[in-house]
């Protein structure tokens, strides 16, 4: 028979009371604060009952497996799942703060509907049945009017079952407007893979076997899609392998945390990554240091070639040799030419070497060309699909859902042009351009948006042009948000159908590219659902059923869980490294043990690319055909409108042109360098105090600060903590200054993710309102994070 320490304390307190203490201990406010009310699911548990429940973290897309310590039905501590290939037992600050999300005081406790005027932010409770019935009725009416296309689905989930479910919903309902966030985060990197290798996904890197890493602005220790995995890998690069110490070179304008941990840091001007990389390529080709066998056998467009129409086209080799001498690259990017020469030689000597492009490489007006240049460098080094190189993430063989047959209404809707302009003449190379949406929604062209769904999406805060987003949402008859927290966009919604927090959900998780080998995580509820919330997958299935007809038929499952099980059944056939079973049910149980299902090693067979030439393409024929689909005059007009200098073959090759910024140098002397620190999350981290107050690289900003270089600060007579007004063509705001040497003179560092919490209706905060939403790589439809100039003045 044992007694918990708490019982002992209570007994002790009682004894004190008996002895004649004036105020009984149980009345003492501090003592009271130590006694917690019972939680759902704790009724049958004995005191002190505790267990470790496995699940998958949901604070970012990396999908680290976790073990949550649950005491008496309460989740008290998150730890990493040992042996899970992505994080191997560890977990970063965001994951650790997960219980803060679960027990957040601002969680939406049940379905709500707007009351009063739009923008008032007043929400009142409603029942699930009423909310679902009303939304279904409105969607049905839209569809019957033949306006299925005017439903816009915004989803921040780039992969996994929810992405597939929304995609299916869009197909069955008949809207082409399923838009993700990639265009504003890391779109160009995916597009570079798409046009050169045929897969619209970031590469994964085989860091365990590489010998040299060139980070192009790499933020792998801050806000990579696989930060925890990369941290682990980068520590392994130093001491994990006896006798082998990998060199890590970081190139970029800002001395970030990842730069701090690099062996060498090379400073270049903002958004000139492409020039640096093409300079390296020049040296590799000139000195015959590239992988000639790989280039000759498995690539297309290295040498000049003649197309099917008899027209001669430029090759990558000719472009690089004729234009990109280290001297010219140096003049463009500011890095010394001898450094470019030396790094090229080092990369050739220490193979396998990899060049890692940060999302910000592609997030500039010259983004796609630069992202392609980095990928081309990897090809020159022969590091594509090789051990120690750059790998395409392989996916587990989940069973597909039954094919659906869109009816006539759906077909008509799917054939409509996309509202964001992707694939049209203004953005022929785009695969989604969320930042184009507010303008399109406000103008009602090519057609008005009648309904908007916000899933994992708070565009008013986490996308440029927040004010415009709020105006655009206000003009839409039906806005539905699935957010568990009342963020800015949710306050502008007509209905809120709150999702569970990720520690209450059941689903499988497809992690962002990590090791190359297939892996599927299993997220399961660690505690009982706290509020009257419903998992969004379940809500979509129910909504589809209420819509009935062909939409309902496409969602014939009993529940979302049934849909997930159907897919997971596909894994039974394939033998996982850790989990195997005879049926789906057994497999799920096995997956719960280790956090998921995975294979140990990627299958590095022959390189097969889904490109027209079936090879790795230096010269992208897919780009060529997409551009050819636009009338030449219209294309020329668009290129001129956007200020693009490149023409013809250059658009299809990795290329560089000087970046364009919003704002004239004379008016706005600084370039704004927004960055995502370790505590960044897409919807912001401002609701989690522990992350807001996380000590960052230097000093203790512990809040949103504007980083200014020492010399600039001296020139402007600014000291640490001085209040300044930052002005850009897009907006202005007041910020405290943090003087630091790691920021390039002439630039201003701006951390993203901070802002007002709880948000106020019709107000947008954070760094994005300073950024000009119209600054972009126009052809690729990718927003230019590094595309806005700014000026500062002391707040008087």
């Amino acid at each position: 028979m044992t007694h918990s320490r708490r019982e002992l304390l209570i007994a002790g307190a009682a004894a004190v009371t008996v002895q004649g203490c004036k105020q009984p201990a149980s009345e003492d406010p501090f003592f009271k604060s130590q006694i917690k009310p019972a939680v759902p699911g704790s009724a049958g548990l004995r005191r002190g009952h505790q267990e470790l429940v496995s699940s998958v973290c949901g604070q970012c897309v990396a999908g680290c497996a976790i073990q949550v310590r649950v005491v008496e039905g309460r989740a008290v501590k998150v730890d990493g799942m040992p042996d899970y290939p992505i994080n191997r037992g560890s977990i970063g600050p965001k994951g650790q703060a997960g219980t803060g999300m679960l027990y957040h005081r601002d969680r939406i406790k049940g379905p709500m509907r707007r009351e009063g005027a739009r923008g008032s932010g007043k929400l009142v409770p409603v029942t699930w049945d009423v909310a679902l019935a009303e939304i279904a009725a409105q969607l049905k009416a839209l569809r019957e009017k033949g306006e299925a296309r005017s439903l816009v689905l915004l989803s921040g989930e780039p992969r996994g079952p929810m992405r597939d479910l929304w995609s299916r919903f869009a197909q069955a309902y008949g809207t082409p407007n399923l838009v993700d966030h990639r265009a504003v985060t890391d779109g160009a990197k995916g597009l570079a893979s798409l046009y050169m290798q045929g897969v619209n996904e970031f590469p994964s890197y085989d860091w365990d076997r590489t010998r040299y890493v060139l980070g192009m602005g790499s933020s792998h220790l801050e806000s990579w899609c696989q930060t925890i995995h990369m941290m682990r890998a980068s520590s392994q690069l130093r001491h994990g392998m006896p006798g082998k110490r990998v060199k890590f070179v970081q190139v970029g304008p800002r001395y970030s945390t990842s730069s701090m941990k690099a062996d060498e840091w090379v400073s270049i001007a903002p958004a000139t990554y492409g020039a640096f990389v093409l300079g390296l390529a020049h040296v590799l080709i000139r000195d015959k240091l590239y992988d000639e066998k790989f280039v000759a056998e498995q690539t297309f467009g290295f040498e000049e070639f003649t197309g099917a129409d008899g027209v001669a086209h430029q090759g990558f080799k000719d472009l690089v040799m004729s234009q990109w001498t280290p001297a010219r690259a140096s003049a463009m990017c500011g890095a010394p030419a001898d450094v470019i020469e030396r790094i090229a030689h080092e990369m050739a000597e220490f193979r396998p070497a990899i060049a890692v492009a940060d999302p910000q490489v592609g997030s500039a007006s010259n983004g796609l060309g630069a992202a392609m240049a980095v990928h081309a460098l990897n090809a020159l080094l022969g590091s594509i699909e090789r051990p120690g190189g750059v790998l395409i993430q392989q996916r587990a063989s989940l069973a597909p859902w039954a094919a659906l047959a869109p009816d006539e209404v759906a077909k008509a809707g799917l054939n409509a042009p996309r509202l964001d302009g992707s694939g049209q003449k203004s953005a022929p190379l785009a695969e989604g351009a969320i930042h184009h949406l507010p303008a399109a929604m406000l103008s009602g062209k090519p057609y008005p948006a009648q309904a908007v769904f916000l899933h994992f999406s708070n565009p008013a805060f986490s996308k440029p042009g927040g004010k415009q987003w709020l105006e655009a949402l206000a003009a839409v008859p039906l806005v539905v948000s699935f957010s568990p927290l009342a963020d800015e966009s949710t306050l502008a919604a007509d209905f809120v159908l709150p999702d569970h927090s990720y520690l209450e959900r059941f689903e499988y998780v497809e992690p962002a590219p990590a090791l190359g080998a297939p892996i599927i995580g299993l997220r399961q509820p660690v505690v009982q659902t706290l509020h009257d919330t419903r998992q969004t997958g379940e809500v979509v299935v129910q909504l589809a059923k209420q819509l009935g007809g062909p939409v309902g038929a496409a969602f014939g499952w009993e529940s979302y869980r049934a849909a997930l099980d159907e897919r997971l059944a596909g894994l039974v056939e394939q033998k996982g490294a850790n989990a195997e079973a005879d049926d789906a049910e057994g497999l799920v149980e096995a997956m719960k043990e280790g956090g998921g299902w995975w294979l140990e090693k990627p299958d590095l067979g022959k390189l097969e690319c889904a490109t027209p030439s079936k090879k790795f393409e230096f010269y992208s024929q897919a780009i060529a055909s997409r551009l050819a689909a636009v009338a030449p005059d219209a294309l020329e007009a668009e290129l001129q409108r956007a200020g693009v200098l490149a023409r013809g073959d250059l658009l299809c090759l990795p290329h560089f042109e000087p970046p364009r910024f919003s704002g004239a140098v004379a008016d706005y002397p600084f370039v704004l360098l927004p960055y995502r620190a370790i505590n960044y999350a897409e919807g912001g981290i401002r609701h989690l105090r522990r992350l807001v107050e996380l000590p960052l690289v230097i000093e203790k900003p512990r809040a949103e600060r504007l980083e200014v270089n020492d010399d600039d600060a001296r020139r402007l007579s600014l000291k640490n903590n001085d209040l300044v007004v930052v002005e850009t063509p897009a907006g202005s705001k007041e910020l405290h200054v943090m003087v630091r040497p790691g920021i390039q003179p002439g630039t201003l560092g701006l951390p993203l993710g901070y802002g007002q919490w709880p948000p106020r209706p019709n107000e947008v905060t954070g760094g994005y309102p300073l950024l000009d939403a119209t600054s972009e790589d126009a052809m690729a439809g990718v927003f230019a994070l590094l595309g806005t100039r700014a000026r500062i003045r002391r707040k008087s």
Binding site: S33, S90, M231, R245, L688, P741, P745
Partner: protein, 304 residues
């Protein structure tokens, strides 16, 4: 040696076991009522061959000279700056494990936040001219000769028999002498009652008491976790190895780069002992003679 330590101690000889068993019974009786406790305390006296006396006055520790040899454990830590990525995972892990409230805006402005594990940074050079920043995760150094212990007027802080610089929160009178004495700034004062909203209270760790206002608090090397594995090992009758302790603190368990190693410095084979002897090992403010038990392994260069 406190009552709890006695319960947790895993002495092997029969006499000690009998003593511990008797104390456990006494403690159990205490929860039942005073009469039972008296009986049990009498039994305790009989078992240990001493007079019955209140439990707080447990047998006096052995003379100082012998104590060092007798120490079963001497906990220490090594933090590898070569692999540390300055992510702050250790900071948040420590806060959630030890019920440290998140600092609010007003605390932040007044620099009153509590961070048992903090990240401190140093900067050298200018942009383009030998710029080098470094970030150090800084927990309590658990010095062998801690200045804080010497100044505490009420014995609220002491070096435990396992080498942990411990703090009895209930005994602290909040004079903050220890904070002035500590050269590492790792002691923190509770200016207010801990701020946890009711929802957040659900996630408090029941193994760690919250500290009220007016009390100094600090890193404990997660001694509750050390105690828990020891108790579990005793119940399961297994022996503990270095691997069981290596990642026992919340910071070491979380560290994505596996930079933090914890362990027993009395065990020459433990990973932490070996790292303490590494040529890369440096101690913070070593010249002060505090003999910190947390060492940093300095960063290396490529092809060094």
């Amino acid at each position: 040696m406190s009552l709890w330590d006695l319960i947790a101690s895993s002495k092997k000889d029969d006499e000690a076991d009998a003593k511990v068993e008797a104390r456990r019974k006494a403690l159990h009786a205490l929860t039942m009522g005073t009469a039972g406790a008296l009986v049990a305390l009498a039994t305790l006296g009989a078992a240990s061959g001493e007079e019955a006396k209140p439990a707080e006055k447990a047998p006096a520790p052995a003379p100082k000279g012998d104590e060092k040899k007798k120490k079963k454990h001497n906990w220490g830590m090594a933090i590898d700056m070569d692999s540390c990525t300055a992510c702050g995972g250790c900071v948040v892990a420590c806060q959630t494990e030890n019920n440290v409230p998140a600092q609010q805006e007003e605390d932040s402005e007044k620099a009153r936040g509590i961070f048992w594990m903090d990240l401190l940074s140093t900067a050298e050079g200018n942009y383009g001219e030998g710029l080098k920043l470094e970030v150090l995760p800084v927990p309590c150094m658990h010095c062998e000769d801690p200045p804080c212990v010497k100044v505490c007027p009420v014995n609220a802080t002491y070096v435990s028999d396992e080498g942990i610089v411990a703090q009895v929160f209930d005994r602290c009178i909040g004079c903050r002498y220890c904070m002035s004495a500590c050269p590492y700034g790792v002691r923190h004062f509770n200016w207010t009652e801990p701020k946890f909203d009711p929802a957040e209270q659900q996630s408090l760790n029941p193994d760690v008491a919250c500290r009220p206002a007016g009390v100094v608090e600090k890193c404990t090397f997660c001694h509750h976790k050390i105690r828990a594995v020891k108790e579990k090992a005793r119940a399961d009758e297994t022996t503990l190895t270095d691997n069981d302790f290596r990642k026992i603190t919340a910071c070491a368990a979380a560290c994505p780069a596996q930079s933090i190693t914890f362990g027993d410095l009395n065990d020459p084979q433990s990973a932490v002992s070996r790292l303490h002897k590494s040529p890369r090992a440096i101690r913070l403010l070593e010249e002060l003679g505090t003999k910190p038990k947390v060492v940093y392994l300095r960063e290396t260069k490529w092809r060094e």
